[in-house]
């Protein structure tokens, strides 16, 4: 695999051919915020938080391959404010009650809210009515907290390649649907994987909760992105 050179905010970076800007940035010690992206999954580009500017055009860094000589703008006040706006949009378009959520402290959306010092969102709350689906024996799906990252759609498939989760409806009614029959067959490992991959508290395992107390969770001490 050949190596190529490009820059992010003026810093020289190296990337392998075919690598996305997000992957390459990480390896070069630069944090570009992501939410829907998940290592090992084909990028979906749903949240757009990783948006950067390349040659005057806005592009999602998770779906755009780094190219030789590419000049990427990422950490500019303009882009950072628009990223913050997306975090705020995700908060107001769903119903996110952090204090009562099992995922608090491990939630990537909450962590991004802290990182971007979101106090009150600039947008009005939309208070959608969303259903909780608790039919599956091992997990439940709380659509109030869903950010439509599609990690569950991409990551949880049966042995014969069928989707357990899929998008339903469109526009502002779009939401994750769960195949009750296939979900009934999820193994313990798959159920755990579904919950762990969910960036928010939309997919939770039944009968297990708060095993790690709040205060000792992933983002309680250090902000998201500090690992880079």
């Amino acid at each position: 695999m050949s190596e190529l050179q490009f820059t992010i905010d003026g810093k020289d970076c190296k990337a392998k051919s075919g690598q996305t800007i997000v992957e390459a940035a990480r390896e070069n010690g630069i944090y570009i915020p992501t939410l829907c992206n998940f290592q090992g999954m084909k990028p979906a580009g749903t949240c757009r938080i990783c948006t950067v500017k390349v040659a005057g055009r806005y592009q999602a860094a998770c779906t755009t391959p780094a190219a030789p000589g590419m000049i990427v703008e990422s950490n500019t006040p303009e882009i950072e404010d628009m990223r913050k706006a997306i975090v705020e949009m995700l908060f107001v378009e769903g119903n996110h009650m952090c204090p009562t959520c099992e995922k608090s402290g491990n939630c990537e959306l909450q962590a991004l809210g802290y990182r971007y010092t979101m106090l009150a969102p600039r947008f009005p709350y939309l208070w959608p009515v969303r259903e909780v689906d608790a039919h599956a024996p091992k997990i439940y799906l709380d659509r109030n907290r869903c950010v439509q990252c599609l990690r569950c759609v991409r990551g949880i498939v049966t042995g014969d390649g069928k989707h357990v989760f899929a998008l339903s409806q469109r526009g502002n009614k779009v939401g994750i649907d769960i195949d009750a029959q296939l979900a009934a067959g999820l193994s313990e490992d798959q159920a755990k994987k579904a919950m762990d991959q969910c960036p928010v508290g939309a997919i939770l395992r039944k009968e297990i909760g708060f095993a790690v107390p709040i205060g000792r969770r992933k983002y309680d001490g250090k902000p998201i992105g500090s690992e880079v």
């Binding site: 990028p43 979906a44 580009g45 749903t46 949240c47 757009r48 948006t51 806005y58 999602a60 779906t63 755009t64 391959p65 628009m82 706006a85 997306i86 949009m89 995700l90 107001v92 378009e93 600039r122 947008f123 009005p124 939309l126 950010v147 439509q148 049966t158 014969d160 069928k162 989707h163 357990v164 989760f165 899929a166 998008l167 339903s168 409806q169 469109r170 526009g171 502002n172 009614k173 779009v174 649907d177 769960i178 195949d179 009750a180 029959q181 296939l182």
Partner: protein, 605 residues
């Protein structure tokens, strides 16, 4: 019921050989027989095709003309484009609800009639219009609705309710539609006389590279609106590695106000199909797909017949155009009601039987398109123009229009003018000249390029219609002096909220928030701060969205804020810094009503 569902699903799924890429056709046919695709039908389709139930449901719920609940023996889809509203849609809708006995979004208790709103059906020059079981009804009024509802209650066949037929091929035995072409101005490219077979013959006499070169010389750019150079697109596709290549025609004109492709499909289908065959020859494809929007289902039999005729003349089929070894044929794939499918990669997803969600790029369709093969997707008008360029030469084409926008453009004109219809104009024509042609001199505003385009006022009527000034895929809506411009903007924003695919956050949430803010201003709760926020939010949605829909959906607000700021300023609270939009009195009353208490309110404030 259960056994009936099983029999229907088995029959339909088998007819399509359990082909996953035909899921849209399968769902449509099942719904035609069962009246809807409910949970049980979806589960049975999924089981018999060995896919998950949620994947079938995902498709059923994505498309406007598919439904999980019964849509009625007669399903009425009444267009709610802004032009329909200008022409008395509200009264027509009221007649339907009064006479049918149910509200829009509902089906009558006896399951006879379903009433539904629908986005622009491509009849803006003859509104109000509706689709009833796929049959088009135009120029509706209260009397016509009375007769239609009477016919429905009498159990009449929908086809038999159509008494008058429109002009041209709308009268042909296979169409028999009341739709009118309204071709107001013919030009040299699309509606000039055409001898079927001649363009393809001229193309195959050259090498594919020379055909592409001719297109490059012509400077033709995509007629759908985005304006990518067609010659370059075909060249990329030709050069892309793949076991086979595809040619796809985007006949999903969904931009509210455009209907020119409908007229091409009616009056010049042979030119279109020949253009596709030329595309096939140029890129090295043996198969073409016409993706036809569901609203134009009434043209399908007619188009199939035209294709048959071309096969008999050897314009299509083996050794097409008389070129030994060039085999090319075209199939028609029906859409199911989704504006987003006009975006080329969403169209490909839909043509493959999936939800019409745009793809991430790279890879581009020319590299990895329909069924994973290199594919060129072009607009109906683009293929027609390509055929004409092969006949008349690239230099001839380039001699018309402007430096950056060669040739002519079909525009669909509707709204407040005396002569709505289709006009072939040279690129570079000013808005003023067009207004004179269509007799719309009183215009207060002109929406160029549909909701995703630009709303211009009098001071900009000297601007030119072309890619480098006011770009349009064909939609031109004239807005007269007595119209409430904010109502127009509101209609457009509701359209985008409805038609966003919902994949990416800024488009899904952002358009709702823009609509909400617009309503706040319309309701008299806006302040100067709200106008600034609107501007800023428009920029966020445009910059952060994944595809052309979200990148342009704020335009109704953004361009009216720019060109008609006074309309907004007249609505806001002067001098107020902030308005919570919270109405204490209304809230207390609502809470009392819910709780069954009597409000103790002193109404002196």
């Amino acid at each position: 019921m259960g056994t009936n569902i099983t029999a229907v699903v088995t029959g339909v799924v088998d007819a399509y050989k359990k082909d996953r890429s035909r899921l849209l056709d399968i769902v449509r046919d099942v719904q035609a027989q069962l009246g809807c695709v409910n949970d049980e039908a979806a589960a049975q389709i999924a089981a018999s095709m060995n896919v998950s139930r949620v994947d079938v449901d995902g498709v059923v719920t994505f498309y406007h003309f598919f439904s999980k609940t019964p849509v009625g023996k007669y399903s009425v889809y009444l267009n709610n484009s802004v032009t329909a509203q200008m022409n008395g849609r509200a009264a027509v809708a009221k007649s339907f609800t009064d006479l049918a006995g149910c509200q829009f979004g509902q089906t009558t208790a006896d399951g006879l009639i379903g009433l539904f709103d629908t986005s622009c059906i491509g009849m803006n020059d003859q509104e109000p219009a509706a689709l009833i079981n796929g049959v088009v009804f135009t120029r509706l009024n209260a009397d016509k609705v009375k007769s239609i509802v009477g016919d429905m209650k009498a159990g009449k066949k929908v086809e038999d309710m159509v008494r008058d037929h429109g002009d041209g091929a709308n009268q042909s035995a296979l169409v028999k539609s009341m739709v009118n072409n309204n071709i107001q101005r013919k030009g040299p490219v699309i509606f000039a006389p055409f001898e079927s077979g001649k363009a393809l013959k001229a193309a195959v006499a050259k090498s594919p590279d020379d055909v592409i070169e001719e297109l490059k010389v012509s400077n033709i750019r995509g007629r759908g609106g985005a304006g990518f150079p067609t010659g370059m697109k075909w060249e990329f596709c030709r050069k892309a590695q793949g076991a086979k290549h595809y040619v796809v025609c985007n006949a999903d004109e969904g931009e509210p106000g455009t209907f020119k492709d409908r007229v091409i499909l009616t009056e010049a289908p042979a030119l279109l199909f020949e253009g596709m065959a030329i595309g096939g020859y140029a890129v090295g494809a043996s198969e073409g797909v016409l993706y036809l929007r569901a609203e134009y289902m009434y043209l399908r039999k007619y188009l199939e017949d035209v294709l048959d005729g071309l096969r008999k003349k050897s314009v299509l089929g083996a050794n097409a155009g008389g070129k030994s070894g060039f085999n090319f044929d075209i199939k028609i794939q029906m859409g199911a009601g989704a504006y987003i499918c006009g975006e080329e990669s969403a169209l490909i997803e839909s043509a493959e039987g999936k939800r019409g969600e745009p793809r991430n790029r790279p890879p581009f369709p020319v590299q990895n398109g329909y069924m994973g093969y290199p594919t060129t997707v072009n607009n109906v008008e683009t293929y027609c123009a390509a055929a004409r360029i092969v006949l008349e030469g690239g230099k001839w084409f380039k001699s018309m229009g402007t430096a950056q926008s060669a040739g002519t453009k079909l525009v669909s004109v509707s709204g407040d003018c005396r002569k709505p219809g289709v006009y072939e104009i040279e690129f570079g024509t000013t808005v003023q000249t067009l207004l004179e042609l269509v007799d719309g001199r009183t215009a207060r505003a002109v929406q160029v390029g549909g909701p995703s385009g630009t709303c211009v006022g009098k001071k900009d009527f000297g601007r030119r219609i072309c890619y480098d000034d006011l770009a349009t895929g064909g939609s031109i809506i004239i807005i007269g002096p007595n119209r409430d411009l904010l109502e127009v903007v509101h209609n457009f924003m509701e359209f985008f909220v409805e038609e966003s695919c919902g994949w990416c956050a800024p488009c899904r949430a952002g358009n709702q928030l823009l609509l909400h803010k617009l309503e706040k201003i319309m309701h008299g709760h806006g302040t100067e701060g709200d106008l600034k926020e609107l501007e800023s939010w428009c920029k966020i949605v445009k910059s952060m969205s994944r595809c052309g829909l979200g990148q342009t959906s704020p335009n109704p607000i953004a361009t009216t804020l720019q060109n008609f700021r006074e309309v907004y300023e007249a609505k806001i609270r002067k001098g107020a810094d902030y308005d919570t939009e919270f109405d204490l009195l209304a809230s207390v009353q609502e809470s009392c009503r819910v709780a069954g208490r009597i409000p103790n309110i002193h109404e002196e404030h």
